[in-house]
């Protein structure tokens, strides 16, 4: 019965497909006769190549062209060649650890802000994701519900995440309202430097940790139960079970989590931009925001400088991605 129904539905949907296939049949045959097998391969790859090329490959080359040309014109033909001038400007510092000694102090502020953010955020993600996964893997009531709850923020658009938390954290936001009700002194979460950093890290962790917890949860569930029973027979204390059995067996998953989180942390932008706008001052200004503002948002936009900075960031990301690929290959072999 249901099988027959499925067949009918299948036939209805198949009709237009069949019609489409029939209509391109003749031109395809002609194309094959003219170009042979290689031509057919090219034909089937074409849609992807067009999309990928338009939005990734070609922009990459254009980006490079921008980075070696000057002025604030947008059309390449209006721009003059300046060589490595932008790179020189970005890289010249008396002391690279002190942004105020650099020719482009904003860039180095963003670099060091990003570095600090990456270290703190990735560490936090690793620890929180681990803890979450361990809890979600244990026998708690309504386990499926909690798994969903932790994963939901991952489904939200970063802008929505930023907006939600701005409503909660701003001066007259939800959190301060609750604190006043409880007779606590309200805090300017997004205006005080340290709290703004904590908020940036905290919100981005909240938004992404469910995804990483899921990777770790899958790893935990792949560890055979009887290993834990053997450890129990052996009288192993819980801490030792964690450090000697769970952690080593989860290590490959944890490495993947760390590398993926690193790559995403370096690119951090939307949530924090909506949340703090990079402030107070430049205290939560990160690299992507720097590039965006220099290239598009500031009055004296400088696309060449932004392109140079983005190429340098791209270099870092390529190194991290290669690292991840290497890890994956190493893990598949082990």
């Amino acid at each position: 019965m249901s099988f027959a129904l499925a067949n009918t539905i299948g036939a209805v949907f198949a009709a237009p497909v069949r019609w489409l296939a029939a209509s391109i049949d003749a031109p395809l045959r002609l194309w094959q006769r003219l170009t042979g097998k290689g031509g057919m391969i090219a034909f089937f790859l074409m849609p992807n190549i067009i999309v990928f090329g338009t939005f990734v490959i070609i922009p990459l080359f254009i980006n490079f062209a921008y980075s070696v040309t000057g002025g604030n014109e947008l059309f390449l033909t209006d721009r003059s060649f300046v060589g490595t001038q932008h790179f020189d400007r970005l890289l010249t510092c008396d002391n690279h650890f002190d942004p105020s000694s650099c020719r482009d102090d904003l860039f180095w502020t963003a670099v060091w802000n990003t570095a600090r953010f990456v270290v703190v955020q990735v560490t936090t993600i690793a620890i929180v994701a681990m803890g979450t996964a361990l809890i979600l893997n244990s026998k708690i009531p309504a386990r499926g519900f909690w798994r969903a709850v932790f994963f939901f923020p991952v489904l939200l658009s970063p802008v929505v995440v930023g907006l939600i938390w701005r409503w909660i954290l701003q001066r007259q936001g939800l959190l301060n309202f609750v604190m006043i009700e409880m007779d606590l002194t309200p805090v300017n979460w997004l205006i005080e430097r340290d709290w703004a950093f904590v908020a940036a890290v905290g919100v981005s962790v909240w938004a992404h940790v469910g995804f990483y917890a899921l990777i770790l949860l899958a790893g935990l569930q792949a560890i055979p139960r009887d290993l834990y029973e053997a450890a129990e027979m052996d009288g192993t204390r819980p801490a030792r079970v964690f450090f000697r059995i769970t952690l080593p067996l989860l290590w490959p998953n944890l490495l993947v989590v760390i590398v993926l989180a690193l790559i995403r942390a370096v690119q951090i932008f939307d949530e924090v931009y909506v949340l703090t706008g990079g402030g107070p001052g430049t205290s939560t200004l990160y690299l992507t925001q720097y590039i965006y503002e220099i290239g598009f948002a500031s009055i004296l936009r400088n696309p060449g400088l932004a392109s140079a900075a983005s190429l340098m960031m791209g270099g870092v990301l390529i190194v991290l991605t290669l690292g991840q690929l290497g890890l994956q290959r190493w893990r598949d072999r082990a």
């Binding site: 029973e229 053997a230 129990e232 027979m233 052996d234 009288g235 192993t236 030792r240 067996l249």
Partner: protein, 341 residues
């Protein structure tokens, strides 16, 4: 050391009762085998003894002490798992040492024990390898070694040989028997392979649907099964069960009171002048013996195993007799009825 007693043990998972009123005493140094069909509760029973799981009712005693609420680690038992459960990221040496380190045993003592055990099990050359680099048989040895180094009061083994191929299983079976003789420790051994049970056991516990059907030495079990289930479960191929009417030609001197079913093992049927008239339907020549499937005049099926080669073809008729002492009698409730002496 190593006497285990179970008193009125019940285990329920929700409404599902998996173990029902288990009473059993395993003596010091005994090798006791649990057999039964898949899902009858063998593993569950072993887990109650090990302390990995708590019974819903009843008590577990080790050496006279009530350990029902004692944790698995403090019961002094060691378990060998069907899947070996070796720690995959540790070397063989680390696997063997892990439990001893938990006890805060001095290093020298750990080294001494590992050296002893690896010599005994001939795994010395493997000591620096990881489980992934070992064959199935070698892993099994290491798993057994991990149990031995702890010098437990008793060993619990859950189908330890079922992941090995047939040949290796036979040789490991012999090694286990030798090991038991040498260690003299109490062992509880779960299997659904009745050959393993018959060859290894001092005593066999037959389980069905969470109940103990019979506890007896292997040959007693074979010779005097208490009911039709045990009679059919022990011995391969399984016993033939005939109605009294069908079996009449075998019953020279009549039957005891209340007999409803007569059992005869395929191996106990021999060609004779008079007896059961069998029409062969399928003949399996195995070389050492010939297995004949057939039907009686009433349509009842019968299996006979005759030693050596036998020139029989499907459709042939043959007459089979049996020694009256090798017949088994059961009443309408499938319980054994003893022949009149």
């Amino acid at each position: 050391m190593g006497q285990i007693r179970l008193e009125g043990l019940y285990k329920r998972f929700g409404v599902h009762e998996v173990l029902t009123d288990i009473n059993l005493e395993v003596d010091e140094g005994e090798l006791c085998v649990f057999v039964g069909p898949s899902g009858c509760g063998k593993s569950t029973l072993l887990r109650q003894i090990s302390g990995l799981d708590q019974p819903s009712e009843g008590k577990v005693f080790i050496d006279g002490k009530d350990v029902t609420r004692v944790s698995a680690a403090d019961r002094g038992l060691a378990m060998v798992f069907q899947s070996y459960a070796l720690y995959p990221h540790m070397t063989v040496r680390q696997n063997l040492a892990f439990g001893l380190q938990n006890m805060k045993m001095p290093r020298a003592e750990i080294d001494r024990r590992i050296a002893d055990v690896s010599r005994m099990l001939e795994i010395e050359p493997l000591i620096a390898r990881r489980p992934g680099q070992l064959s199935g048989g070698q892993r099994q040895r290491v798993a057994i070694g991990r149990a031995i180094v702890r010098d437990p009061t008793a060993f619990l083994l859950d189908e330890p040989l079922s992941n090995l191929d047939a040949e290796l299983r036979v040789s490991m079976r012999a090694e286990l028997a030798a090991l038991h003789a040498r260690l003299g420790a109490t062992m509880i051994y779960v299997t659904h392979d009745q050959i393993e049970a018959m060859t290894l056991a001092d005593r066999i516990v037959v389980l069905r649907l969470g109940r103990i059907e019979q506890v007896a030495a292997p040959l007693d079990l074979f010779d005097r099964p208490v009911n039709r289930f045990v009679a059919g479960f022990i011995g391969a191929p399984s016993m033939n069960f005939l109605s009294v009417a069908d079996a009449a030609p075998l019953l020279g001197g009549g039957t005891p009171d209340g007999v409803a079913i007569v059992g005869v093992r395929p191996q106990h049927l021999v060609r004779a002048e008079k007896g059961l008239e069998l029409c062969a339907t399928l003949v399996e020549a195995l070389g050492t013996e010939t297995v004949i499937h057939g039907t009686l005049a009433s349509g009842a099926r019968l299996l006979a195993t005759v030693a050596g080669h036998l020139k029989v073809a499907p459709g042939d008729r043959l007459t089979l007799g049996a020694n009256p002492e090798q017949l088994h009698f059961f009443n309408a409730n499938d319980q054994r009825v003893d022949a009149i002496a």
